[in-house]
Symmetry: C2
Subunit: 103 residues, 2 copies
Amino acid sequence: MVMSVDSDVLKALADPLRIQILTLLAQEALCTTHLVEETGARQTNLSNHLKILRDAGLVDTEPCGRFTYYSLRPDALEAVAAEFAELAATAREAAAENRKRSC
Amino acid sequence: MVMSVDSDVLKALADPLRIQILTLLAQEALCTTHLVEETGARQTNLSNHLKILRDAGLVDTEPCGRFTYYSLRPDALEAVAAEFAELAATAREAAAENRKRSC
DNA sequence: CTAACGTATCAGCCCATGGTGATGTCAGTC
DNA sequence: GACTGACATCACCATGGGCTGATACGTTAG
């Protein structure tokens, strides 16, 4: 089974502020202003992070007047979760059979 | 529900070579020499990456004479998978109820 | 129309991190 | 004991990425 975890997605997930953003967006859709209030980060900084999350396919954007609502894409996270779960399952199998390449 | 994904674990996962290492270790336990053959990376480089994976609790080491066997820790990956799955579930719920903070 | 606001983009700084060669350490071999 | 091989550690360099201030763009309010 091929491990096809998108490296960009993982890089996008490997940042505390971005995880905080995702956690907030999991609760409800928010626009940048809300995220500025919640995280205390600057608008420019958040805009950068949101671009990374959007490019990675982790969040969706919905323009609403001059606001932009961001929401989390469950399928993207589920795909990551599934691939790690499968990798873990493979490892459990290998461990149960004590598979070990000889030197 | 608190999102407690360990940042170090995610950072450890956010590297293509380390993902390749984990994928190889999921199949069977290997020592550094095997990983050098499989990945084509230098021994020093691999040793660095393996230290990161070990510090993150993603792999186990088992000394065997002058060799060191590395194996993947399924529970660590399962924990990550579970947290992402839960975050995704929360987001699905929020989307179903169309939760959106007003501006 | 003009002003104010929400958001995106740009250029730059700085630090974290990946890669490397040199070296150290420990186990097994002669 | 001397040597070789497996692995870890160190110092160094180069690149990438996060943060920032300045600025541009589009939308709504007055």
